[in-house]
Every structure is written in C-alpha cells, then in structure tokens.
C-alpha cells in the first residue's frame, strides 16, 4: 500500500470530505505516535510502511516523555477538527463542539490505527501498543 492509498483508506474509515483532511489526521496521529515511540524502534518498521509515514515517525525521541498521556495524544488529533469560523455552539454554558471533539478525535485515532495495523508485523504492533498511553492503547487494541 502506498501513501495515497493509506490516506484514502483513512478517509473512507473517517468519512472525511477531502483527502487533505484525512492527510492532516494521518500526519497528526503519526506525529503523536512519534512522541511516545522510542526512536530505536522506528527504523524496524521502515520496510512495512510508506516512506511518507516514516518521515513522521522519524521525529521520535531517544527517550519519550514518560508523562505524555492520553490527553496530550488526543490534543494532537483534536486540532485537526475544524472549528474556525463556525457558529458559536454554546448551549447553556456547555460548548457542544468542545464536548464532542474528544469522541471525534478518538474515532479518528482508531481509524488510523485500523488502517495501520494490517501493514505491520505483530511484533511492531506490540511495540506501538506498549508505547501508547493507556486510553489510546485501548483504541489501538480495538481497531
């Protein structure tokens, strides 16, 4: 599977309107993975993944921050959900957009994981699973 096909797969799963939006989701999920996956584990996946995805993963740190948690991971993905210029959705003090953005971000993460898992070996799946923060690992396991 090449990069374009991977983005297309994610676009289909997330039902996003454009390939650009799907590409932004892919980029942010992979960059978030790079925040938690130790750099030494990245190159092993080079043979399985499109080169474009490896560019994101190569941003991984030697020693990832041990306190990078579910909230931080989702933060990378929530910012792909477009709100700028939209109408004010405040209802009785509850911002509905913000309220549901976590669910949407989790869904987008899960969609990228579902597209990623068939491409990599079981050992690599385990490496990613063990590196992900608790709540995100559940999404990966379920995808």
């Amino acid at each position: 599977m090449n990069y374009g096909e991977f983005v297309g797969d994610v676009q289909g799963r997330t039902r996003l309107r454009s390939a650009d939006e799907a590409e932004a989701v892919v980029a942010n999920v992979f960059r978030a993975i790079a925040e938690v996956l130790p750099h030494r584990n990245v190159e092993e996946m080079g043979g399985s993944l499109p080169a474009e995805l490896m560019v994101y993963l190569r941003g991984a740190h030697e020693e990832p921050d041990p306190y990078f948690d579910e909230h931080l991971f989702l933060g990378w993905v929530v910012s792909t959900i477009d709100a700028t210029g939209s109408r004010d959705k405040t209802a009785g003090g509850l911002d509905l957009y913000a309220h549901y953005s976590g669910d949407e971000a989790a869904y987008r993460c899960e969609s990228v994981f579902a597209a990623l898992k068939p491409l990599i070996k079981d050992g690599h799946r385990q490496l990613i699973l063990s590196a992900l923060p608790e709540g995100i690992a559940e999404l990966f396991a379920r995808a």
Binding site: A27, N28, R31, A32, E35, G59, D65, P66, Y67, F68, D69, H71, L72, L74, G75, W76, V77, V78, S79, D82, A83, T84, D88, T90, D95, Y97, A98, S101, G102, A105
Partner: protein
C-alpha cells in the same frame, strides 16, 4: 521521576471541564509531580488563579485554592505570602489574565520579587470566551475579534519579565510534562518571584499554535548555557518565530525576596501571631492592647 509523595494526594473529585486534548491537563499533571517531588503536602501550598480556562485549575486539585477576579491573582498571592510565609504560594493563570488584564500586577511582581511561583498557561488566545486574540497572539493572527488578522505586535513576556527585574524566568512546553515539572520544582525552590511561561496549545480555538507548531520550533537550552547571564537571557528571550528556547533562561540567586525585606515578618507573621493567640489564650495578653486604647 521518582517522587517523595504519591501524586494521587493532590487529586480532587471535581469533573474537569477542559476540552479534550487541552494543554492544561499536562500543566496540572506537572504541578502535581513537582509538589510530590518536593514533598509538599496539599495543605502546605496555595494555588491562586484568576479567570479563564486555565484558572479553573485550583478546582481540580486538593491543594488549597483561591480563584480570584480577572487579572488579580498576583497581588492576592503576594498578600497570602505576607500573611503566611510558611505557605508555598503558586499562581496559575492564562496569558490574558497574566499579561493583559493583570499586566500591571505582573510588572510589579517582577520588581518586588515576592516568593511566588507563577505558572502562565500561555495559549496565545482567550479560550474561555471562545477565541479572541490575546496579548501574546502573534501579529496577523485571525480570530473573531481580529478577522483581518491582529494588527498588534505580540507581547514578549520573558523579555518584559527580565527588563522589569524578575529573578527567575523560564519557559516550558505542555507537550513535555516531565521537563515542565522540573521547571516548576526549580521555580518553587527559587527564593523570589519565579515566572514559568508554559506554551500550551488551545486545541479548540487556536488552530495556528498547535502541538505540531510548537514541537517543530521548541528546543531545550544548551548544557553550557549560563542562566546567571542576564544579557544572554535577554537575547534568548528574543528568539521566537523559527526556534523557541525551553528551560530556565534567567536566574539570579542573590536577590532578596520581598518578604525578606519586610521588617515585621522578622518578628512574626500575621498567621503565626493569630495562631499563637488562639493556642495560648490568656486575659493578660490583651492588657497592652487595652492600655493602648484606654
């Protein structure tokens, strides 16, 4: 990070209402880690905040908390320190509350040097009111109140702090909680005013300064960097657009704190005096007071 206390002692049952993915979660976590690392119990500290998303933080911990009016946490925190210098007082508020509405207090806290740790949740936008440009928004930033892009130059809080006489000036990034926790530890240990400006993405209303935007720019100060060099700190504080330094930019260990120079505190603090009166009540202790007014 092996901490002296379990961070769970700072947890509160209150439901957190920050947006999913908000950088404030990391700041809350880093604060708990820092206090646990220093072995400071919830009742030994006070967290003072203002108004804004980040200022909801005291509600989400078991630490003593005081949510003040907009922009006023620094004078109230200074008062709390003067009343009870045994308390570790930490101010947590956003860039609007700190540098906009509370800008005057910010300047005077820098020059007075009260023993406070000031953590600024700098997301470069007013988030609670749903996205207006703030004092730290970059020029050209498009928001509901700057539809053609902000025409104002952004405030550089670190430069202002150094110029105004702050004795500890640091910058953290919400995407690196461990590094931020270490900065907070150093800020609390510093005797005097410690500013820790934390770059904290607002994932809902700021679509420019995202985690990715900061990640591609931030770097940690070099090991040979000398934070005692005020001129070097000034130059570091100018870096912004392409590369943004993280760490302790400036630290002066020699300056006395505001409390050190208040003569009355050398005898006793108001809280210590009140406690002494409460613990040792005797009619005789009021005689000098009565004599004064008779």
């Amino acid at each position: 990070m092996v901490t002296r206390l379990d961070t769970k002692i700072y947890d509160a049952a209150t439901e957190v209402t920050w947006c999913p993915g908000c950088g404030d979660f990391a700041i809350l976590r880093a604060l708990k880690l820092a206090l646990a690392d220093l072995g400071i119990a919830p009742w030994q500290a006070l967290v003072v905040s203002g108004i804004g998303c980040g200022s909801k933080l005291p509600d989400y911990t078991s630490i003593n908390g005081f949510m003040t009016i907009h922009g006023r946490p620094l004078p109230i925190a200074t008062g709390a320190r003067l009343a009870n210098p045994d308390l570790h007082v930490i101010v947590v508020n956003g860039d609007g509350d700190s540098y906009g509405i509370g800008g005057n207090h910010f300047l005077h806290a820098c020059r007075r040097n009260p023993d406070l740790t000031h953590i600024v949740e700098n997301n470069q936008i007013y988030g609670l009111t749903k996205g207006q440009y703030s004092p730290t928004s970059d020029k050209g930033f498009v928001t509901t109140t700057s539809p053609d892009g902000s025409i104002e130059a952004a405030l550089n809080p670190l430069s202002v702090a150094i110029a105004a006489g702050a004795t500890f000036v640091a910058r953290g990034f919400a995407g690196e909680p461990k590094h931020m926790a270490q900065l907070i530890v150093e800020g609390i240990q510093h005797r005097g005013y410690a500013l820790i400006d934390v770059l904290q993405p607002c994932v809902t209303f700021n679509r420019v300064n995202t985690y990715d935007w900061y990640r591609s720019r931030v770097y940690k100060l070099e090991e040979n960097y000398d934070p005692a060099d005020r001129l070097a700190a000034w130059l570091k504080a100018q870096e912004w657009e392409e590369r943004i330094p993280l760490g302790v930019l400036y630290r002066s260990a020699d300056s006395p704190s505001y409390e050190d120079q208040v003569g009355a505190l050398k005898i006793s603090s108001p809280v210590q005096s009140a406690l002494r009166l409460a613990r040792e009540p005797s009619p005789g202790q009021y005689e000098p007071l009565k004599a004064e007014f008779m």
